[in-house]
Every structure is written in structure tokens, then in C-alpha cells.
Subunit: 375 residues, 2 copies
Amino acid sequence: MTAKDAHAARRRPTSRDVAAAAGVSRSAVSFAFNDPTRVSTATRERILAAARELKYTPPPSGRTLRNGRTQSLGVLLPHDIPKVMENPYYARFLMGLGQVCTREGMSLQLIPPLGDSLVKAVRHAAVDGFVVCGLDTDRGEIAELTRRALPYVLVDSDAPEGAPSVDIDDRDGARDVTQHLLELGHRRIAVLSVEPRSDRPAPTYRDPLVRRIAGIEDALAAVGLSRRDITVAEVPCTRMDGYRATQAIMATRPRPTALVVLADLMAFGAIDALHDLGLDVPGDVSVTGFDDLPEAQWTRPRLTTVRQPIVAKGRIAGDFLISAIRGEDQHQHQLLQTVLITRESSKPPAEPVTPDGRYQPSVPQSPARPVPSRT
Amino acid sequence: MTAKDAHAARRRPTSRDVAAAAGVSRSAVSFAFNDPTRVSTATRERILAAARELKYTPPPSGRTLRNGRTQSLGVLLPHDIPKVMENPYYARFLMGLGQVCTREGMSLQLIPPLGDSLVKAVRHAAVDGFVVCGLDTDRGEIAELTRRALPYVLVDSDAPEGAPSVDIDDRDGARDVTQHLLELGHRRIAVLSVEPRSDRPAPTYRDPLVRRIAGIEDALAAVGLSRRDITVAEVPCTRMDGYRATQAIMATRPRPTALVVLADLMAFGAIDALHDLGLDVPGDVSVTGFDDLPEAQWTRPRLTTVRQPIVAKGRIAGDFLISAIRGEDQHQHQLLQTVLITRESSKPPAEPVTPDGRYQPSVPQSPARPVPSRT
DNA sequence: CTGAAAGCGCTTACAG
DNA sequence: CTGAAAGCGCTTACAG
């Protein structure tokens, strides 16, 4: 079989074919598509007609190689896409990035680990820059980003010194919500945190969840308690894991009167679990979250939580990237503030749980470690 | 300034540089990265060391041009990314596509209109295939897809005959939920539908929302009513638009006793609005949705709705695309079934609204137009 | 206003 | 096991 001929017959037309059909050079074809001022209107029409005839459209692969631009922003994800999309947090974060994409005329590439390797994912992605989400420790990804010499910005990450990053004041947020529960009189507090993505050698203070735990300790210290006085469970960040972990926690005695959950999604699961256990929220157990997803207002009772500006975080991360792609100066870091949102899922415990009864609010002591002050 | 030298000094290393540094050919460099069996271990180590030294990593642009593969799936979106991400429907749909991406080691590119033009977006996207979402009429996008000779599959679209597509039985679903309300005794029914994305010349029966309206008419016809007996409002598919439209609908007299909303997201807004108007759901007004998003179980009251297999839809669309990319035979169409989920947001109206009182359930007549039968 | 040519950086069939 | 060469398809500086 003359496979070659058959193949040639159905191969995609190139600018060469169009040039031949229109009786012009390949340059003219390129100009007709990209810079109409460089060819006469008549010639342009002829070229476009020939292109239509041959069903030709300039494929992006050639342009990408030539221009070194993909017109696409990459979002490097800590987990595979189904798991990421389970958390409404990401939908909101992508809304912020999407605002930038709309403005800049770019597409958004969701880049999950490739066969468990984020390094490989970085290596293969055809994008103009990376927003790196929730990188819990540098396992080579940043080195690979540097090698590729592409702009990047770390978000919710364990960002090394000097790396461009957008973060929130995790520590203050966690301190505020814990202090809120302590002021209500709670003393038997359980914390539900997010487990690290991988076995990592040493979680550092830069890790957002380490910072949140530190914030909890700040609040505890202010009333003379320490981490030893609370229990901390770490599970994957899913609603179902929040559900299961809450069941386990509530099986312990003495039962906690308050549950500090470090992600709204897991807090929803916690409320589900308490409901199924026949425990009243907040009558039997107070529950707090972290994020203030829109859904936090729809739970019954509505969720007391720490609001973070998720959409703004996405937008700012995108803006950082655009500046870097353009080679403009950029702020290297941005720290966004959280706000405690008090709703019905938290109230004083049914009975005082410490010998001295209800906690009397007092001026909090200075935290154990310096934290960014809020103005 | 010797700008050229400065540029040369900091220009990205290429396989040529690495080859020179390691004292091998560029082929060897390529093999070291892509096909280790083609070079000796010692040579490979030397090459990789040189690459590390020079901070070289093979950029995707060359490979893409050469291989004609991007390892990326495109999702062509009907709106810009912020608007799309507002609807939890898409998070679930992307979960399904994401399953395929995980399996195939691909990334997922979100491709919004480029300066309002989907044709431009198609032209510029560097992907191996397109999932086209909610295309409400062919305004050139499909022609451009054909020109690019890339595989595509239409989802929730006004798909032309013969185009690969994944759809649900919109008509049956809408008929079932309307029939449910009619059987409960409702007669004053308002429908809240999604407005077309653009001014289109002629919505056709292939349009999912046209099919849903047809399903509503089927159910009405079975009790001797017609479209003239109901009111239909069309608004953009957002929670806020659902809220506002419901306020407007409830200001009409006589007030409807049931609201058939053709997207859960808008139904959530409708429940919000009824709550704010001091109207009880379902006491004063029954509300039904369409989709069965997870959130439909969290509204109070929980939402009666038409469940569609959103994640499966995404997975199947992705599988279609993968088959097509591989050049395998593929099923051209897939029709997925919906199921009516009855929850607390619907109940009989407070008082009979027709002269003859409550509707007596009877065997539904055959629908006006043939619909795909469910087995 | 148009054409010939170089070059973006890779991969792989082919020859050694 | 390795090297020289062709080619993927475009864009644009340069010369006419």
C-alpha cells in the first residue's frame, strides 16, 4: 500500500500549502493571519479564502516554539484533579486566577502530579508560568521550576525564603478562633488538621498548617494551657475524612466540648458526623472551621470559621505571575489577612469543664513566637 | 551595551549546550532523558550531570512541535472562568475529566472564550482534544475544530447530527419532576430556566434547555395543560440571578405554588429568596431543581431535584476523547439517564388551585414527541 | 508590498 | 553504542 501517499493526501495543510494555493509566500500567509497591515487587503482576502478552502488554521505548536509563549497559566496541584475538585476551596481560588486569565486572554492549565511526581509535571507542562498550590515541602519541584526558568509563585505553601509567594496569616487566624472558644469557656478542645501530602523530612514553620497549630498554641498559652492539653488529629482534607475522624474523636473520653477544624470542608464532615452521632451542635459540641467557603453559611447550624480571601488570593497570585512574565518588578510576598466569622456552630459549653469554671477573658499574653501584626 | 552577549550569557541552555558539556551528540542528550536504553549508563550519568550543572531541562515546546502531542486535554468553556467556577456543577464535571487525566498522565486546560470569541480560543489552544461544554449553537466553533483536525466531544450542547456527544435525557428528567409536582396537585407552576449564552438565530430541539422545556410540556399535556398555563423565566445561571428572578416571580398574582428550576444552583438562590420573602418552602411554595449537586442535600429544606450523573458525564467525555486521540473506534453518542430525587422541598399545595380540586394521578399519556425510552 | 532564509529546540530514522 | 542530518510549522528581520 502506498501508505505514504495516503498519508500525504490527508495530512494537515500547512502555511506552505496555503501559500502555494494563493500564489504567495509563506510570510504573506503568516501576515494575513497575524498582522493584516503587512499585506494588501486583496491579497489577504485571497490568502484567507485559500486557507478556508484547504481548511487551514495555523496550529499553535509552531507559534509556541517560535514565540516562546503559550498564553497559558499553569496551576500546579498537590493532588490529582478529582481530589482537588472535591474541595470547593479550589473552585474559588480558580475564580481569582480566572479573573486574571480573562483580563490577559490566557487559558488555565490544571497540572496534577504526573505519576505521583510533581517534578515530572513541571517538566512537561507547556505554560508561561506556574501557580504552585499547597506544596508542603520542597522535594525538587522548586529546583525544576528554576531550571525551566519560568516564573512561579507559591500559594499556601511551605515557601523557602525569597521565593515569590502569597500567603494568609494562618497563625493569627487559628489563634483568633481558638481564643474565641477559650473565651466561651471551652477547655477540652480537639483539633482536626490536614495531614501532610507526603512523608516529608521536616515540616517547617513556613508550612501553613504548622503556623495554624502555632496560632492555636498562642491562644492556649494566653490562658496558661499548652499543646499537651489538647488532642490533634491529622487526616486528608476531604469531607469524608472529616466525618470519620470526628467519629473517632468523639469516641474518646472525656469527650471534647469543642472541635477546631482547620479546613471548612472537613468541618462540614464533622457536623455531619456529630449529627449522625446524635450530638447537638453547638449544644453538645462546638465546631469551628477555616476558610469561610460559601457553603459555611448553609450548614445547620451555620459554621463559625476563619474567613480568608480566597478569590483575592488567586487573583493576586495570577497578577504576580503576569508581572513576572512581563519581566516587571514585582512584590515578592503578599500576606493576606483572615477574619474570625462567628456564627451559630459555637457557644459556651453546657457545663464548665475546669475546676475554676468559666474562663474570664483577659488581655492575651504576647504569643510565644512573633507573628505578623495586623494593623 | 553588548546586549547580545548579556543575553547569550543568560539564555536558556539547550540540548546543544549539554551535548557540548558532556562531550556527546544532541541525540545522546535526548536519549538520556527519554530513552535510557539507548545510551550506556555511564554516558547517561555524565549527560544528566552536565544537564544538572547547566540547569538544563528539555522544554516542552520542541517536543510538542516534534511529536504533535501536548499531553493536555482542553475544556472549552461557554463563559469566562470565574463565572464557570461559580457553579459547583463544573467542579464535579471536572472531577470526571480529572479521573481520565490521572489515568492518562495528562493535564487539563480550561479554555474560556478569548475576547468573547470561542473560535479564537479554539484556534490558539495547544491541546490534544477538546471537550466542548454547553455550546448553545454552532457559531463557527465546530468548523474551527474541524479545521484544526483535533478530536472533540460536545457535552450539554446543541450538538449537530453526527457530532460526537455526551448528553443526558433532559426531556425525561424535566418531565418527571414536573409530573411529580402535578401529581402533588400543583397547577400554578413557574419555570426558571437558563438564558441562552448568546443571541442565537434559532434554538433547536438539540439544545438541552429546549429539551427540558419539551419535557415539562409532556407532563403538562398528560393532564390536559399546555405551556400557556405556566410562566417561564430565563436568566443567567447564577445563584444571585435565581434569587432575583424568584423575587420577581413571587411578586406576580396569582402567586405560583411551585417553582420548577432547571439548575440546582439557581434553585439555591430561589430558596434563599423565598426565605427572605418570608415564604415557607414547601409550605407556601414547592421548589425543585435539576442536577442534584451535593449541596442540594444541605439546603433547608433539602432540595427535590433531578439527579444527573455529572462525574460520569465528565469521565465518559474524557474517554471519548482519549479513544479519538488514539484513533480508535468510538461510540459517537452517549445518552445518560436522570433520576428524580424526592426530598422535602416539594409537597402538596396548601389549597387546591384548580376548580376541580386536587389532581388525581393517572397513567400519563404518551408524550407529544418521541423521547428516548428508559429501560 | 513581498520573498527567501534563518531559527525556535526538540526527536528519531538512518548510517556508521 | 553514537553522530550527523532532517524535519516538525511557525514567525520575523532582512533584503528587495
